[in-house]
Symmetry: C2
Subunit: 350 residues, 2 copies
Amino acid sequence: MSRSNILAVDAMGGDHAPEAIIAGLDIAAERHPQARFLVFGDETRLAPLLAGSKRLRGRCDLRHTSETITGDMKPTVALRLRDSSLRRAIDSVLAGEAAGVISAGNTGALLALSKIVLKTLKGIDRPAMAATAPSARGDVVMLDLGLNVVYDARNLVEFALMGEVFARIVLGLPRPSLGLLNIGSEEGKGDEILRDAAASLRASPIGGQFHGYVEGHDIAAGTVDVVVTDGFTGNVALKTGEGALKLVGDLLRRVFTAGPFARIGYLLARGALKRLRETLDPRRYNGAVLLGLNGVVVKSHGGTDALGFAHAVDVAMDMIENDFNSRIAEGLVAMEQALLSAETVIESHG
Amino acid sequence: MSRSNILAVDAMGGDHAPEAIIAGLDIAAERHPQARFLVFGDETRLAPLLAGSKRLRGRCDLRHTSETITGDMKPTVALRLRDSSLRRAIDSVLAGEAAGVISAGNTGALLALSKIVLKTLKGIDRPAMAATAPSARGDVVMLDLGLNVVYDARNLVEFALMGEVFARIVLGLPRPSLGLLNIGSEEGKGDEILRDAAASLRASPIGGQFHGYVEGHDIAAGTVDVVVTDGFTGNVALKTGEGALKLVGDLLRRVFTAGPFARIGYLLARGALKRLRETLDPRRYNGAVLLGLNGVVVKSHGGTDALGFAHAVDVAMDMIENDFNSRIAEGLVAMEQALLSAETVIESHG
């Protein structure tokens, strides 16, 4: 059993665990025929669920755990539970038994535990959280989404590097374009950190893919494939966009129940509306990834169903099967020399 | 002719000036029967347009100007033009001839000129840009939208104060609720500036209206009436939300031309869809205001039509007729004492 296709699964995290977790694995197992799963959680609940899935037969290794991290538990408390399903799943990555871990449970605990146990990848200063969002020109990668409220130009450059590899692997883009989120596209916009990061990116090996500054509306327009920003701005932007999409969805539902004509209209346009709903389905965008750690770490939304969890497993397996971290390491080597020259450029402008 | 109903109009700014500007004034003139306008621009182009409007007859004072600030002109260059329509309009506010100014022209020039000529209101450290956005529970005020990339806790508190008065006057809410934009609603989220601002707001005269931290998705959800944030985050959030709404609009257009059934469906649901479109119509949200200067300053979107410009004039006239700046001054007096005590509270926590 090669490590390069094994995912550790926290089967007890999330609002609909463990049923939705195992059902999600069952869906993902078909899409990734080589994948194997280390499943951590309560044996008495998990064994019957696993026995019920033909596809998962012989592909899961069930590991009993005795403790549970609840959704509202503080990370400092969660850290002390040595036999929780989440802790044991992360430990299995450290031990080299699995190449990555997925959880739909407590976000703060997942972040804290995976940072402490797995530690940052050599050459990466700070990990970042990334996710995909819909745009007019296909999916867009955004990062950081909340880990780094304090950051510097070097961090933004590392986010760009990791986002570029992520877009290649998970979105399958051969040469993804990159943009730095700012409040205008002109040279002088934003603060010094952004200007330094832009100068470094231009001088880097991925400089040819760097589009320059992008603005908020460029995210949904799909102006670039990877939107790079700090954790505060990225978190607010992602949630603002999700909120706006939800608002229109709610208003549309009201539109099509507004009267008999509208209801018939809905029935006639149903097929096309279904495709629209699928394009914007939040489950398609489920799976935020923690980039820059020694191991693949994927957070599924706590409230998602089996289909949403399967999408998050997809993301994790894509990263594992394509050896995401080795590619980051390759990128870092190429970047290192270029960044040194870029720093010289910045200093001469300083 | 009392100053309390006079608006200075830059009639030459914007993509469709001066035609859309005068047509917009014509619409607004009906809604604000007491309003009078000082119209600045090229006399030979404006005189026939004004003569063509019955409603504007006797309510406009046309002032010829000889210079034009183009859309791509740098503020530093625009500042040197003493006889531009924008400059003369702003000068008329300084001279006390008008209570406010509106322009659909060069944003940078309007901001720079109005800050330099009109100066900051006594007691306000930095002006802020505000606008309204649609939400599930009515319109929401957001500020700052781009002026303040560098800011402190006191600035955020002043933004909250100005946003509260704005929501009372322009949205007509007797007791608007306020939220500070953050990446989580828990106490410890965000940086020290946000935590200090939250403590000050709680101790302020509007503390009873302060809901606490809100997140990106709370904007479109309408969780609070006024969303307070720094200029970088606010600018990104507003444009991200606009981008998401535009994305759905474009996708919907595609849905309803996807085939004959969808087209008939559209025709049947047309009435309800029209109301949805009206709810989210960007023209309804046209008119960003510059708060905290000695005079009302409103920026209309450059690409808007007569209806959009009329909405921006509405906002300006609402502020003028309700004496926005006097209410800010009243709020500041009440705030001053409370902030002093709040600072003591913060220091004792420091």
